[in-house]
Assembly symmetry: D2
Homo-oligomer: 336 residues x 4
C-alpha cells in the first residue's frame, strides 16, 4: 500500500520533503504540490517528479486521491490548513511552529480530534541520530535518573531581518526546537527563567527581537535544564545536548564534513562543523517523514502529536514573558 | 541532456548503483538492468524504477538507447564486457578489480582506447569526504612534501569462504582499495614488501588466502608507506589514513553512527564505528557515479581511468610475490 | 633570595602546599608548620622536611624568621589569622573561601591594606592550564567579544555530611570556585538566578544544603553565563568551561589518566577522567604558590587579591538568596 | 630504609634523575654526582641538594656509602661503568642504549651476573601512563590475541649534527625506544625489514645517518608490526602506539598542554602536543626511578633487566643491515 500525499508550500522545507518523499521514503508518493507562487510549485513538481501542481492548496486538501497533506506553508497559514485538511479527512504532517497563538492552535487541534485524523508536527530533530541516541541512553537507564539538561544551539548566521520580523522571535522560531527537545528528553517543564539580549546585530533588536539567550527550566520531574541560543556562531552550526544523571552523562558533539585532522606548526585542527540545518539535519527530515508514512500505513499513532506542537509554543511564551518581566515564569501562568 | 545507462549485474553493488542513479545522480537514467539470474534483474528493476530488465548483458550493451554501461558483474566477466561495450561505442563504468590477469586487462584497455570511449573504474573511496580531504591537504600544501603514508583498513568480518575462493585473495579483493589510495594520494609505487598470515580463521588459510597483512611500499617520489589489512575487527569497519610530511600531518578517523558520548562509572565511550562499506561509503558511491555522469555529459575525462584499474592489480601481484618469496619485490619485476 | 614561609594548618590542603613548597617552588622554604593537632603538624613536618612544627599558629605568625604565612586552617579561622598576620607584617596566602561573613572579610581586608602587606587567595584553578588557556583565548581576541559562558563543574562524590554542615553550603564551598572563574574570565557579575535541589543524597538536604544547582548570571559587560554543579558525577571529576563570543568559542575538556582508547565489540572507550582535585588540579597548586612566591620576591602585586576572595562570597550569598526567594537577585542587593 | 645513590653524568638526563630523586622518589637519596666537567657536577649538586660532587666517577662507584649508581654518562662509557660498579657490588641503573657493540654489552652483562647485582635499563617509556595502559589492555585480555602493532614516533626536530655523529644513528638512538616498546608489548622479534631515507635534512645524510624510516617486524608469536620514525614533526612530539587483536584494538593519542579547543571562522583546533620528551615523558622518568628504588629496597628483580637493554641493540643492528642489504634480516643472522 502506497500513501498518496499532497504538499502545501514549495519553499525550502517543502522542497526538502518533496525530495525526501521521492528518494528516501518507501511506500509514499507525492501526487501534487501547491504554492501561491506558481513558478515555485511548477519547478518543485518538475524537480521532484510530482505529477501535478497548483496555486491553490484547497485543490490538494480536497483531492480525492490524496490521503495525507504535508503543510510547509508560512506559519500564519498552518492552523487554517490543518483544520481544513482535518475536516476533509486527511492525515496531516505540519511544520513547526503550529502557530503563535494558543487559541488558534487549540481550535486546529480540536478539528484534528473531531475528524479522527492524525497530525504529526515537524520536530525533525527528534529523529536525528544524536538526539535519538541521547533519548535511548536515558530510556535505557544508561545514565540513571536525569538531574540536569544542557542544550547549546547556535546558528551560523542570523536570517534576514525581514524574516526575523515575521518569525515570532528567537524563542518561537529557533529555541522552539530546543523546547521540544527538552520535552522529548525529560518531559514537561513547569517554570522558565530567561536572560536575553541583542549581541549579534543591532538590527535584530530594532526589529523587536533578541539574538542571544540563555534559558533556565525546571522540569516537572525535578530536573533542571538550561538552553543557550545564539543567532551567530562564526564556526558554523553548533548543536549539542548533554543530560546528566545519577548514573552518568550522555552528550552529543557536532558533525563535521569529514573526520580528518590536520596537524601543522600552528595547531591540530579540524574543518568547521556542518554549516546549517540543511546539511546537519537532512537525514532527520527523511526519518520523520518515514515515521509519518509508516504510522499512517500501519494505522498507528504518529510519533509527534498535536500537543507536541502546542507545548513548545507555551514555553516560548513563558520565556518571552520572563524576559519582559525579569522573573521566572510558570507555564501555568501563561496557560491561564 | 540526460545520460541513459544500462546496468550489468544486479548483485549488491549493482543494486547500490541502481538506487543511486535513481535518487542521487542528476542527469542520469537507468533504462535497463541485466543479471544472469532473472529474479535478481527483475526485482532490481522493480525496486529502483528501471523500465527494462534482462538475463542477457548483450542486450544492454547493444541497445541503441543506452549510452553508457555500468559493469557490476563478477570480476571474471569484467574485461569481456568492457571490450564488448567499447566496441559498441558505449562509455563504461566498471567495478574493481578489473581482472586478476594483466594480459586480459591490457586487451580490454586497448579496446577502450581503440573505440575512443571512456572507462571509469569503481574506486569509490577516492570520492569519500575523508580521503578527498586528505588529498586536498596534500595538494594544497597543508602538510608540505609528503614523507610517509600509513593506511589501516580492517573489515568487520571476513566474507564467506566461497567468496574468498574466487576473490583473488585479500590483496586483490580488499587491499586493492588501499593500493589505489596509495596512488591517489602519493603517486606511483616502485617496490613492495609484505608480511601476511592467517590469524582470523584457519579456513581462510585452507582456502589459500591470508586474512592479516602489513605491506611496506616505496613510492617513486621517495615516500615510504605502510598498509595494514585485517579481515576482522570486532569493533567494526576501521578505515584510517595518515600522510605525514615536511609541513605537518593529515589523518582521518572513523565515522560513527552518532556523535554521542556516554560517561558512566565504568568508562567514557562511544558507540562502535559504522559497521561496513554499505554504511560507511554509501555517499562515495553516489559521488563517483555523479562524477562519471558529469564527465560523460561534459565530454571531459572521467576521474579514475583504465590504468588506475590496472596499476593496483600489479601492486597486488607484487605483494603476493613478496609474501611467497619473502623479499621486497619491485613492480617492474612483475610487469616484466 | 629565598622566601621563608610558615604554614598554618596541616590538613589535606596544608600538606599539598608543604609538599609543593619543598619540591616545586623555587626560591621558597617552609620553616614551620602549625596545627592544633600536634600529630598532624609533626608528621607533616617530617614528611616534607620542614624543620619546625607547633600547635600554636601564633608562633608562626610572630616568628622573626618567617616572612610569609600560608593559611590552610578551617574557614572560620581565616580572617582572624589574616588580620593577625597582617599586623605582624607578614605577606599572606589564604585558602578559599576567606569567610562566610562579609563584615568579617572586610575587617580582614582592611587589616591587610593597613599593614601594607600582600594577600593572595587560593583560587588555584586560575593557574590550571585549561582555564589559563581559556583566559588567554579571550584576552588574545581569539573568540572576539564574549557573549556567553557555560561552566559545568561536578564532583565525583559528596563530602561527608559532617563536612557539609560546616562547609557553608554548596555555593560557598564548591561553586565558589566557579564564581571566581566567572570573574576571572569575564569580569564582574551583577545579577544571579539559581535553581537548586537535593538529588544526590537526602542526607545533604537534611543537613540544610543542596547537592545539585544551576545558576544563571548576567555580567556587567552584558554577557550571560550559566554554572552547573553536582556533588556526584559517577564517572569522576567533571570540570569544563566554554566561552562563546562574536569571533568563536573556546572550551575545555576533562583530563584523563591516559590518552588511550580501547575498541572492542561493545564500544570505543576511554578510562574515566582524573577522579578529583588532588589529581586534576595538582599542577595548579604548585603554579599558584610559585606565582605567590615570585610576586613577593619581585615586590609585585600577587595575582589573586583580597577582593578576589570577597566577591565570590557575595555571589554565593546572592545565589542562596535567589534559591530562597525564587527570583533573580542583584549583587548590590546583597551588598547593601 | 633509604637507598643511597650516586649519579654518574650531570648532563640533561643526569639532571632529570637528580631532580626526580630529590622530589619524587620516596626512600632514595642521592649522595653524590660526578661529571667530567666539574662545573656541571657542581651546579647539579647545588641545584638538587646533593651533598657531594666529583669529576671522578670512580669515587662514586667505590664510595662505601653508596649502594646504587645511576649511569647517565655518554653511551661509550656505559659498559665500563656497569662492569666497574658491578664488581664494586653496586646495584645499577643505566641509561639506554647500553652500547653499540654486542661483545661489549655481553661482557658488562656478564659482570652484572657474576657480581649478583641488579641492572635496570632506562627504558622510561614502559612507565608512561599511555604505554602502561596499552600493556595492561593486552595483558588483561581486553583486545584478545594481538595480531598487529603500529608505532608512530616522531621527534619535533633533529638533534645537532654533532650529536647525530656519535648517536649510533637513528635506529640506535631514537628507534631503540620503539624496539623496546615492541618487546615490552608483544615479546621477541625474529625478523626486521626497513626502508629509510634522508628527507628532513641533507646534513643528516652527510653525517651517515637517516632521518626517516619505516620498519616492519615479525614477532616470534606471529604478530606483525610496523614502526615509523621521523626526526622532524613540525607540530611537535608525536608518540602513538596501536595494538590490534582478535578482540579489539588499543591505541594511544598524544598529550597536549591543555584540553582546550578553539573554534573560530577558520577551524576547530587544539594547541600543539607537548613538544618533546622532557615535557611528554617526565612522569615516566620518576616512575622508572621509583620502580628501581622500590625493587632494590624490596630485594626484588628490577623491571627492565640487562637483556632488555641488549635486545633492542640487536634489533637496531638488524634494521641497519636491512637498509644496507635491501632485504628482511633475521635477528639470529645478526646474533651469529
Amino acid at each position: 500500500m502506497t500513501i498518496k500525499l499532497g504538499i502545501i508550500g514549495a519553499g525550502r522545507i517543502g522542497r526538502v520533503h518533496a525530495d525526501t518523499l521521492r528518494t528516501r521514503v518507501p511506500g509514499a508518493e507525492a501526487l501534487a504540490i501547491a504554492d501561491i507562487y506558481e513558478a515555485s510549485a511548477r519547478s518543485a513538481a518538475a524537480d521532484f517528479g510530482i505529477p501535478d501542481y497548483s496555486v491553490d492548496p484547497a485543490e490538494i486538501i480536497h483531492s480525492g486521491d490524496i490521503e495525507a497533506v504535508v503543510i510547509c506553508s508560512s506559519t500564519d497559514t498552518h492552523c487554517h490548513f490543518i483544520s481544513e485538511a482535518a475536516r476533509a479527512g486527511k492525515n496531516i504532517f505540519c511544520e513547526k511552529p503550529i502557530a503563535f497563538d494558543l487559541a488558534e492552535i487549540d481550535a486546529a487541534l480540536a478539528a484534528v480530534v473531531e475528524a479522527g485524523v492524525q497530525l504529526q508536527i515537524g520536530f525533525n530533530r527528534r529523529f536525528d541520530s544524536n538526539h535519538a541516541r541521547i533519548k535511548s541512553a536515558i530510556d535505557g537507564g544508561e545514565i540513571g535518573q536525569p538531574h540536569t539538561l544542557t542544550i547549546i544551539s547556535r546558528d551560523p548566521a542570523p536570517p534576514p531581518i525581514d524574516y526575523i520580523k515575521v518569525s515570532g522571535g528567537l524563542m518561537m522560531d529557533m529555541m522552539i526546537h530546543d523546547f521540544d527537545m527538552c520535552r522529548f528528553l525529560l518531559g514537561e517543564v513547569e517554570e522558565i527563567f530567561a536572560l536575553a539580549d541583542v549581541m549579534v546585530d543591532p538590527a535584530i533588536g530594532e526589529a523587536g527581537d533578541i539574538d542571544t539567550a540563555k534559558v533556565m527550566l525546571r522540569f516537572e520531574n525535578g530536573a533542571i535544564g538550561t538552553i543557550e541560543n545564539s543567532r551567530q556562531a562564526v564556526y558554523g552550526y553548533d548543536q549539542r545536548v548533554e543530560v546528566f544523571g545519577s548514573g552518568g552523562a550522555v552528550s552529543s558533539g557536532n558533525w563535521h564534513p569529514n573526520a580528518v585532522t590536520v596537524s601543522d606548526a600552528a595547531s591540530v585542527r579540524r574543518d568547521l562543523p556542518l554549516n546549517f540545518f540543511m546539511e546537519r539535519y537532512m537525514d532527520s527530515y527523511a526519518a520523520e517523514m518515514m515515521a509519518f508514512v509508516e504510522a499512517i500505513r500501519a494505522g498507528e499513532t504518529v510519533p509527534v502529536v498535536g500537543n507536541d506542537g502546542r507545548a513548545p509554543v507555551l514555553m516560548a511564551m513563558a520565556g518571552m514573558r520572563s524576559i519582559a518581566e525579569k522573573r521566572p515564569v510558570r507555564l501555568d501562568e501563561v496557560e491561564a
